[in-house]
């Protein structure tokens, strides 16, 4: 097991390296480097920029050096100092700006993931064991719609209908008085009811596809020989269902986390813009509009790394539940 984990972790290193290069390229894409924009920005706001400030910034980010040296300085700053660069839009280190946003994105994505599983798995099991029943058709149909409907459009339409019907604006995660307040119990309580809608909207397509996958997997498993063996042994139907086919279908389902999680984080970005959530999405968009490239590069980098880690966790989880992977011999 330990071998397997360390092997998988080692595998990640080139992947992370490649991601960092892509992100660095994106940071460099807009014309002009970050410093000249920063200076222009400061000058626009009427602040005088001293030569020494410029020089020290140039030193810090190695802007006078060649491209690949810049990359190494950038990545070194991140790994050693946790310094992701500076956001000229906020005039703060990127790490400080990103922190709270990122944690909200993580919270919402994780809750969405839990929501997806909590809703999809029971429905999937029901649909598979009651194949071709009326409810199976209903769930399949709903799932189909959920899969096809884009989250941000649903969010848009929901905002309108809820406002038109009740006069309540459902945008934002907090009431105005809590937006900038430090975290407290009251703030959490304030957020809880408001997080429900985003979670549903973000989780909708994930739920729909997981229902499909669960149903398909389980239908596959239900007709397998080992289920018949267990039945022939005299195991009761419900016990049998959960001990064997559900248990087996869980493995491929765990591996779906690998693509559910990126999809959730990705979908969250646009839904958050529509619903005006204080998460990474709107800030990323704003950063892109202002070409605050260190800020958006960092978002991209961190979101990708989180995705990679999520996939790693799901792989480890998979190995933990599946002896065939754990012991390396997977011959069937």
């Amino acid at each position: 097991m330990l071998n397997y984990i360390s092997y998988r972790v080692l595998q990640l290193i080139p992947l992370l390296f490649a991601i960092s290069i892509i992100v660095f390229v994106i940071i460099q894409l807009p014309p002009g480097d970050f410093l000249s924009q920063y200076i222009a920005q400061l000058k626009n706001s009427g602040t005088a920029v001293s030569e020494s400030t410029i020089a020290s910034l140039q030193m810090q980010y190695g802007l006078d050096k060649s491209m690949y040296m810049q990359y190494f300085i950038w990545i070194k700053n991140i790994i050693i100092h946790g310094d992701f660069g500076r956001s000229f839009q906020y005039n703060q280190p990127v790490a400080d700006v990103i922190g709270p946003r990122l944690s909200l994105t993580l919270i919402i994505s994780l809750i969405s993931l839990i929501f997806v599983w909590a809703v999809a798995i029971p429905i999937g099991i029901y649909s598979a064991t009651h194949q071709y029943s009326i409810m199976d058709y209903v769930f399949t149909f709903i799932g189909f719609i959920g899969l096809a409907m884009p989250g941000f459009l649903i969010a848009l339409v929901l905002i309108y209908f809820i406002f038109a019907q009740t006069g309540v604006a459902i945008t934002g995660l907090f009431s105005p008085e809590f937006v900038d307040a430090p975290w407290s119990m009251a703030k959490v309580m304030n957020m809880l009811p408001r997080i429900i809608l985003p979670v549903i909207v973000i989780g909708m397509s994930g739920t729909a596809s997981l229902i499909r996958v669960t149903r398909g997997m389980l239908l596959d498993e239900l007709s397998k020989q080992y289920v018949i063996t267990a039945r022939a042994k005299g195991v009761a139907e419900n016990r049998l269902l959960f001990k064997y086919p559900v248990r087996m279908a869980i493995n491929p389902l765990i591996s779906t986390i690998g693509w559910t999680l990126p999809a959730l984080i990705s979908g969250e970005a646009i839904v958050a813009i529509v619903l005006n959530l204080q998460t990474t999405g709107p800030m990323l968009l704003k950063a892109l509009m202002f070409q605050d490239m260190y800020l958006c590069g960092s978002f991209l980098l961190i979101l990708s790394v989180l995705t990679v880690l999520g996939t790693l966790l799901s792989d480890i989880l998979l190995a933990w539940v599946d002896p065939r992977i754990r012991f390396g011999g997977a011959t069937e």
Partner: protein, 385 residues
């Protein structure tokens, strides 16, 4: 259980093929497509979707002729006007075959100071068919001025889905926007398809180092959340680019990120097919690699490719819509469904001018239709279901 499977296979796929053997010796391909068509026809929803989509694409192709107004035409008296209703009954003269609309008169609400519109029975405009209106160039080439329908005087308002804050006719703009948004799905998928086929094909057929490299690239692309990556790349497109350049720039970005799914399908399919007995049989019979690909592999997975392509078109359309909607994709004056939705971004406009949501109806309809179509095709293509 195996009995049942055997039986249903025998019932569904294994019927002896009584199709005439044609001279070019490609009868096995024809029969596959014909079988697919038979099964597809049974899938009524998919069939209906195909017809609706075809209609959408025809409308998009002839948008200049089919829209009553030009997309940039502004009815300055009718900013943020609600949609007009089409009438057939005139209170004075009774029923008439020729449909007509009423003009609107604006009033300013005393409390909110917003303008509200009410139909004005004094201004009755009859809708004419094949009417001479504003001139345009069909497909940007042929100068024309005939519209399928419109008002005698093109300056009079015909606003079937309301107007935006500048007084543009939303109905005409949705028709024009359809051309951009719908074509984006098709054009976008072509490049994606080429990339997916070539890279997936290389990966599956050659294997070895090429396979490893391509697989690692796919892993990499999957790890980066798609929408933020789209956002970052499209935002990096030069601001000075023309509408066409941005359009193709977006397509390139989408394809570079989006080919992975298709490549996986192609690779997986090739790997299975390579091991199939009929491939081995062909190889033993001395068929060349190219012949095996062309005669055996391609027909075997062409149906899978078609299904996958159908199912990934809506994703591309949605991607364009989403990016344009949040303002990093296509920009006004280009008219796409996403650009049109930019006006519907904040709650206030939505609350007062809900007709600005009309483009969502078309987007959702299109996406659903493609999904139904893809689903029907998948059922038809799968010989074992």
């Amino acid at each position: 259980m195996s009995l049942i499977t055997t039986i249903s296979n025998a019932l569904r796929g294994g019927k002896p093929n009584r199709l005439r053997k044609s001279q070019d010796n490609s009868y096995e391909v024809a029969s596959q497509w014909r079988l697919m068509w038979w099964k597809f026809k049974k899938h009524k929803v998919a069939l209906a979707s195909a017809i609706i989509l075809l209609f959408f694409y025809i409308v998009a192709a002839f948008c200049e002729f089919l829209s009553p107004n030009l997309p940039e035409a502004r009815f300055t008296e009718y900013k943020n006007s609600p949609p007009q209703k089409i009438h057939f009954i005139d209170p004075q003269t009774g029923f008439q075959f020729r449909p007509f609309v009423y003009g609107m008169s604006a009033k300013v609400d005393e409390k909110t100071f917003r303008r509200t519109f009410a139909p004005d029975p004094e201004k009755k405009y009859e809708i004419q068919f094949f009417v001479k209106g504003e001139s345009y160039k069909m497909w940007g080439l042929i100068p024309m001025n005939v519209h399928l329908f419109g008002l005698k005087n093109p300056k009079d308002p015909l606003i079937l889905m309301g107007t935006d804050k500048l007084g543009h006719d939303l109905f005409s703009r949705i028709i024009y926007g359809g051309r951009i948004s719908l074509s984006f799905g098709l054009v976008g998928i072509v490049l994606t398809l080429v990339l997916g086929l070539v890279l997936g094909g290389i990966s599956g057929y050659l294997g070895g180092v090429a396979d490893t490299i391509i697989q690692r690239i796919i892993d990499l692309l999957i790890c980066i959340p798609t929408i933020p990556l789209w956002m970052a790349l499209t935002a990096a497109l030069p601001k000075g680019w023309s509408a066409e350049q941005t359009y193709f720039g977006l397509i390139i970005i989408f394809s570079i990120i989006g080919w992975t799914g298709l490549a996986r399908v192609v690779r997986g399919k090739i790997l299975t097919l390579r091991e199939e007995d009929f491939t081995m049989a062909a190889r033993l019979a001395g068929a060349s690699g190219f012949r095996i690909i062309r005669k055996h592999l391609l027909p075997s997975f062409a149906s899978y490719i078609i299904v996958n392509v159908t199912l990934s078109i809506p994703g591309t359309i949605l991607g364009e819509t989403a990016l344009s909607f949040i303002g990093v994709g296509l920009q006004a004056p280009v008219v796409s469904w996403g650009v049109l939705l930019q006006d519907a971004q904040n709650l206030e406009t939505l609350a007062y001018y809900p007709w600005l949501l009309w483009p969502t109806a078309f987007i959702i309809l299109t996406v659903l239709m493609f999904n139904f179509l893809g689903d029907g095709l998948r059922d038809a293509a799968d010989p074992y279901k």
